[in-house]
Symmetry: C2
Subunit: 255 residues, 2 copies
């Protein structure tokens, strides 16, 4: 999303949004000239628009002159349904799952071809991992992603498999035939497993949160050190959490 | 923040931001005419700007034509330091505190005269409460708020006490003399206590996260049912969490 270039006649709104797009997890702090360069908006315009965003507290100007995402954007973003609905409903189930496992526990949704992490619980004993709330990873390389992908429509799966897929480790399954068989097995047994497919040394187990029509609205998973845990042992509490969340979502949407 | 009225000559940026301000926790879903009315921007302009925000996915248009805060704003907001720095560092300590208490566990910062909730952990057994991540409550009526206020400068405390203070319950301490004495006691014993001061039936205990200069950068607290818990019993694990977070923040800022 970053690095969008400016067009002549580009609207003010799109320039403001391009300024926000200049920030990403690899670039959470930027100077004014870096913002200007990354979003392709002239420096003088960037200076004026950044000033308006700072006044609104959507950006924060640090003492050293760099800018960070401000409190007001964080606050507004948390008004979205992913947070006030999905995360709030899921939290007690995730907490119970965390207590049962003491491992990294995730709640994620699909966005385009990515899995997007909505919540992550972790303790001092959990293995350090790459996911973060608001972060994205490839669907096919993560447990939560495979749990979602396995329950997408055949058309979506076919299009996804037809693509050239990222291979974060040598164990990532990217061959369409193997991946398709893996997803089939995932759907049949009710949970997904990855073995060092995203990060060497960790594996994951995940189950889908399905709506009444069987559509995957989210996934719940845990990430553990490969050598220590038998995936099948983690599946029951994870499935219980996913089913609990699905039931609560269903109850609150109709009641 | 909502209900800002439009000025002639108002900049496009300020209109876009006023549209975002139209949303709050009591109004997370709005129709186009509600947005227009709440932000004081003419309907045609609102329509155009909302369209640009939807295209960027900062707003989401529901099937029934209402709008909600979109995924992209949520994602950008989570790039701010409250989330990627403070929350990430604090989480394992909060998780340990949750496991020790099974109660609602909070991480909060001061923003102006409000306490702003950065993280909240809760399980099925925790008492339901009003706080939420991204939500605000008055400093003097909450445990985390009093823990922060007790360590603010004398000038800040004096100005705060001079104001007419909200009184959510009949137990809220709003008299300057009593509140001042309570804050003094809070600073001396190292933790704050509220007894039904925010919500009838719940009490809270909280401790400040202090930087090396003794400035309160955050507070950690737990909210429990009044009848069940002796506050003094909760103080040690809460103080331990707050001190752990302070040490990690200090280590990562200098190292």
């Amino acid at each position: 999303m970053a690095g969008r270039t400016s067009q002549p006649g580009q609207s003010v709104t799109s320039r403001v949004l391009a300024i926000l797009d200049a920030f990403d997890i690899a670039h959470p702090r930027l100077s004014l000239s870096e913002i200007s360069r990354r979003c392709g908006v002239p420096l003088a315009t960037t200076h004026r628009l950044v000033g308006e965003l700072v006044a609104w507290r959507g950006l924060y100007r640090c003492d050293d002159g760099h800018y960070e995402i401000g409190l007001r954007l964080w606050e507004v973003g948390l008004l979205g349904p992913l947070h006030i609905r999905l995360r709030e409903i899921a939290l007690p189930f995730l907490q119970t799952l965390y207590e049962a496992t003491r491992e990294n526990v995730h709640l994620a949704v699909r966005d385009g071809d990515d899995v997007l992490y909505v919540e992550k619980l972790a303790g001092h004993r959990s293995v350090p991992i790459v996911s973060r709330i608001g972060g994205r990873l490839p669907l096919h390389a993560t447990g939560v992603g495979k749990a979602l992908l396995a329950h997408e429509t055949p058309g979506f799966r076919r299009d996804y498999l037809a693509r050239s897929l990222a291979r974060p480790t040598r164990y990532t399954i990217v061959e369409p035939g193997r991946l398709s068989a893996d997803l089939e097995q995932t759907a049949q047994r009710g949970y997904a497993v990855t073995r060092e497919e995203m990060t060497l040394g960790t594996c994951s187990v995940a189950a889908p949160v399905l709506d009444r029509a069987g559509r995957p609205v989210a996934a719940v998973g845990a990430v553990v050190q490969s050598v220590l845990v038998e995936p099948a042992r983690l599946a029951p509490p994870i499935r219980l959490a996913a089913e609990g969340i699905a039931a609560r979502l269903d109850a609150t949407s109709t009641g």
